[in-house]
Symmetry: C2
Subunit: 554 residues, 2 copies
């Protein structure tokens, strides 16, 4: 016989940095996104699903990871030589969509988008090259009311999916204030905005890493540069020590205020354990910081904190027009949010927020989860950021030449799902279907009819379609599928017009306790039901234990 | 002043063959997919979302359009020179997923997937290069009960999304029967299965075009080839006239049976208008076809039709083992479906169904919508196919070397949505949010607070965030957004503790009738409401006209 040519088998592997999502993972995400869409919709935002593929030109180069091919996007050349690429976020495509369809869209245009984005980054553990984003943006208005609205909506969204108030904080900053700081530090010249752009990029990315590197690490990156643990050297912005100090004062505003607060709190405690006495002392000594500390114990404390942060920032950037404008915008945002009942227990001004992306021009936001989790080494740390965004007034202008102000937020869907899992809000084992077992393979039609009856009664049900020869395998399958019940109808039951209903959950409990085979047969996890009553009986039973699509008890 | 270098602006255009989906289009699709997921879930299928990017190797070459680069997929080379590509369907990735994770997955594995797929095809009107599919597959079992289950589920799914029984038909055929026909026609040699593979491919694709080309067109493609209207010549399979006739007899089985039926029906009518007389005549003359025609008037008619089709097919392929096996499988499927109550009014055997994809090995299915629509030239035609699938026993084997039988269905999401739109099931204009207008831009915080109050009462609401200077623009915006109500609070209303609520729907009606400005001011579409009662009053009002996310009246 002629030997057939052997083709090498393809490897059954997903490409590096990509992954698959199974069962409850998909259902849980869908359920979470549906809840988010509900909030967005209530705020007047309309859905948009843009093409996953864009021209490379339209996407622009805004990713922080600029060292990768095509600036970090997956791109390829079309037959007509045009370059196209997978979208790396949902914001750049929105700018293209708005520019393309602006005559048909309302202005302002509020839209939300949910879907996968792709980044041509170096894959690593937990770092995937395809992930979900969930964005909301308002295009075509310059008012900071739009920024405030986005922040309020973000807070509502987090609560709607199950993050309790107190477990999250939305932080707001303003790139204009940062630009003021850059001007004071001498690396931004209003007369020549392109000068020092490279240095400012490094400063921006350095500040964005504050969480990870700490103040010393950031300071090093502002100066000559920094060698990381692996020995790799990252080039710094080359700022002088004075310049770097100005930037660090800005970045450290909140910790500075924090430490002043702690100091004053100590003074207050030293004066007296009694609040009224402390307050008297503060007024007597005319110590505004102490009064501030004490006011934190009031419900209004947070607002005063925001006000103090603004005063502190205004002081740093007082000589620059752009800086003053930024502080004024932040102050308006805080006021608007306050009027809507979103106090600084939910939304706070924080100068350490800068966001890594290059296209932001005004307010920037970040939602952080404040509860602690254990890191891979078992040490407690804050969960961290789950969403970020800001104002990007120039993104549409790239296409149209006209100013089209815009602002928006992007939720990291996988991070937020991980948070909900941490909090036990999702991740309960989803319940499998009722399994109709096959005792006689020639009677498949009867078993299928049973499953149909159950489904018509709204019950999730399936017939075992593997090889039915070994009944033990059917029960193993039921176990793997997490089936609550198995239906059994052999020829004996058939003749008597009954079926056996086996409670697999109870059965598992009992199996742990019962050892002899005789006992097993008599155990109560199995009951006989009239065939004609099948759907009714199971309905009642399942009704009590039914779970939702997303694996949550109904 | 130094002239800045001008960079050419990027074009605000989606790449050719791609598109964006707006507002209700997205919401309607989400709602439809959620309903489909519910049916799939009830049948015991679990969700799977595989990576959009696969290795080119893993995808294989199964698309009918083999003349395009990379066989019709979008592919690019990774940094490590490996080729990856966007998935072109959800079946090839499933085979990879199952091969990769088979030790962790139950067997059989029932899964559903929904999402975009990409094809590097020549774009054309209504022909997009990114589109949605919605699949359900059962992997790891050879029993035709799995095929029958998929067909029953497909029928349930169509009804669940709003296609009435009678408006669709699920057609089933079997590639094994077709192989039997090929063997009879002399273009399949069981001893050398690779011989004539090229010819069989052409035959397959020709039959798949029966709808579009008619029997003559298909016949031409079986022979020397065919010149289309544009003058392009498509190469034929080179079959002799006798060979082609055998294939055509198979393809035309249903129309052959149809014409025999019509003939006999005429005879019956000629005999007598009375059914009993007709039946007597049929028995008297021993005319089995006439008895068959008459039986169609009974509820059991369809089954007899399926039985007749099977006998007809068995006759064509009686000399081939593979053909007989195929007919036997079809007969089992029909029997199983019948036991579950899915008669041929919903699911019918039809030899003209072959499906274009190369990987099918057994039963193939197609769901067709039978109601008429008008084509672009205003002529009535049947809506046509919205789903297709079949058994593909070799797809996983590519990876593992072991046989892993599988079967499944794919719904063309955009086609099905278009059908629902035709039927008026979706596409009602979605209602916009309640618009809080801005009379005084310094009081933005108050207006935002109103919107917050409304949202907290569950009402979709937004503040106008465009330039508030021209009030007419605010109303134009409300009109474009399809807002049901506008809230107006100027300084006068503010002082009196009231707001004006303007009914924009009623207003539009009245505006068509009222001409004078005075009348307009007094018209009933506007009413004064106490500010403190705002949310309560609007709640009651909106409660009566509320619409769902998908634009359907609630």
């Amino acid at each position: 016989m002629a030997k057939q040519k052997k083709q090498p088998r393809p490897k059954a592997e997903v490409p590096k940095g990509f992954r698959d999502y199974f069962g409850a993972e998909v259902a849980e995400r869908d359920a979470m996104l549906a809840r988010i869409a509900e909030v967005y919709h209530r705020y007047g935002f309309d859905a948009l699903e843009s093409s996953a593929v864009e021209t490379l030109d339209a996407l622009g180069k805004y990713l922080p990871d600029v060292d990768r091919p095509h600036a970090g996007v997956f791109a390829w050349q079309e037959d007509d030589d045009a370059w196209v690429a997978l979208r790396y976020d949902l914001t750049a495509p929105l700018a293209r969509v708005y520019a393309q369809h602006r005559n048909d869209l309302p202005t302002p245009y509020r839209r939300y988008s949910m879907g996968p984005v792709w980044r041509n980054e170096k894959p690593g553990p937990g770092r995937f090259r395809q992930f979900y984003q969930c964005d909301a943006d308002t295009v075509g208005t310059a008012t900071v009311a739009a920024d405030a609205e986005i922040c309020a909506m973000l807070a509502d969204t987090l609560e709607a999916v199950g993050i309790a108030r107190g477990d999250y904080i939305v932080r707001i900053n303003n790139r204009k204030v940062l630009n003021g700081v850059m001007e004071v530090a001498g690396i931004l010249d209003p007369a020549d905005p392109d000068k020092y752009a490279h240095e400012r990029g490094i400063v921006l990315r350095a500040i964005d890493k504050l969480d990870r590197l700490g103040p010393e690490g950031v300071h090093a990156l502002l100066g000559k540069g920094r060698k990381d643990e692996s020995g790799d050297f990252t080039e710094g912005a080359g700022l002088s020590d004075d310049q770097a100090k100005t930037v660090m004062a800005f970045v450290g505003a909140n910790s500075e205020i924090d430490s002043r607060l702690k100091e004053q709190a100590k003074i207050a405690r030293d004066v007296s354990p009694d609040y009224a006495d402390q307050l008297d002392y503060a007024w007597m000594t005319n110590d505004s910081w102490l009064r501030y500390v004490l006011s934190l114990q009031d419900t209004q404390g947070g607002q005063i904190r925001n006000a103090n942060t603004l005063v502190y920032l205004a002081d740093i950037v007082r000589e620059t027009a752009i800086g003053r404008e930024g502080v004024s915008e932040l102050s308006q945002i805080a006021e608007l949010l306050d009027a809507q009942g979103y106090g600084p227990d939910r939304i706070v001004i924080d100068p350490s927020v800068v966001r890594g992306l290059g296209y932001y021009t005004g307010p920037v936001f970040e939602a952080e989860l404040t509860f602690e989790i254990l890191d891979e080494k078992g040490r407690p740390r804050q969960f961290g950021s789950v969403a970020g965004g800001g104002r990007y007034d120039d993104l549409v202008k790239r296409f149209t030449g006209q100013e089209v102000p815009a602002t928006g937020i992007s939720i990291g869907v996988d991070r937020l799902l991980a948070a909900l899992r941490e909090k036990g809000r999702i991740g309960n084992t989803a319940q499998g279907p009722v399994l109709v077992t096959v005792m006689d393979r020639d009677r498949m039609a009867d078993y299928q009819a049973m499953a149909t009856e159950l489904r018509n009664a709204g019950i999730r049900a399936e017939v075992y379609l593997g090889n039915p020869k070994n009944f033990g395998n059917q029960l193993k399958y039921a176990d793997k599928r997490n089936c609550p019940l198995a239906i059994i109808e052999g020829s004996d039951e058939r003749d008597r017009g009954v079926v056996l209903v086996k409670d697999l959950v109870l059965g598992k409990h009992l199996a742990a306790e019962i050892t002899s085979n005789e006992e097993w047969k008599e155990q109560p996890a199995q009951q006989e039901v009239l065939r004609v009553d099948l759907a009714t009986v199971i309905s009642t039973y399942i009704g009590e234990t039914e779970t939702n699509l997303d694996g949550q008890p109904g």
